[in-house]
Symmetry: C2
Subunit: 161 residues, 2 copies
């Protein structure tokens, strides 16, 4: 699980760097699909990651909308603020937590049951899914997207072979 999160954080930083080359207009432009824009996607990824980790800890969720974070610097700062808590939780993850249950009450009063191991994987896949969307928008504006390769990032030390 730790390997996946490290991967995702590396790639997210690469997308932040990629965004530096874009005008604020391009970052904020309304686009079709996903959450509707490049910077909004990065906000959403950081927000959802942190919100699920909060939920697994039984802590209250982040309730602000993207409206207050419509600049690259603000999104990066928010992500930096969220990160230590996520890192701490991920570092402490172990197999014994996989099947734990999270119960939530939906707005309509019904109960939702989530399994911790599924939520962690959802958080990971959620970022990869949304950054895949960014890669389409990148090409639409004529720019090369950040690589989606998992290898080449030094995530696992090679053994002797």
């Amino acid at each position: 699980m730790q390997i996946w999160f490290r991967h995702n954080w590396i790639v997210r930083e690469q997308w932040y760097d990629w965004c530096e080359e874009l005008s604020e207009e391009e970052l904020l432009r309304q686009r079709t699909g996903g959450v509707g824009g490049i910077l909004h996607t990065l906000f959403h990824v950081a927000d959802v990651e942190w919100s699920w980790i909060r939920a697994l800890q039984g802590k209250p969720d982040f309730q602000e909308s993207f409206d207050g974070y419509r600049s690259l610097e603000k999104v990066k700062r928010l992500d930096r603020d969220f990160r230590p808590e996520v890192e701490q939780f991920v570092a402490a993850w172990n197999d014994g937590m996989e099947a734990r249950v999270l119960r939530e009450i939906r707005p309509d009063g019904s109960a939702a049951v989530f399994v911790w191991g599924e939520i962690m994987r959802h958080t990971i896949a959620h970022q990869i899914h949304h950054l895949g969307q960014l890669s389409i928008w990148a090409r639409e504006i004529g720019k090369k997207p950040v690589s989606a390769n998992v290898f080449g990032k030094g995530l696992i030390q090679p053994g002797d072979a």
Copy 2:
């Protein structure tokens, strides 16, 4: 690792079902980004998954292009043909394989070193990335994409809590 592959296979089948609603023209239409089309993406996902699993086993790669598979039925059949070998390899995966090394010679004669655990995660992330791209194209043609949620698929049996 097994949980991730099971997730990916479920989602891929859902995208195949989703494709049934589309005309051949939409499935084959050239689009911006990724590998350039909806059906080509699904072909690419199945091809890359199988090719990496072959490489880890030291077996020769699949060398055919999408040109021979330009119908939903042909791509689904190819995927069905590939699947048993991938399933068998994934089922036998264990932590002791994480740091194993795969050496490949690039066309220019230089050596590339890959770590098995990174390749497995790359194969998983590769699908999620490309299906994220499909979700944009789905909206562009006015259709709801397949859900990218990891939870709700019965991947992990909830424990007592």
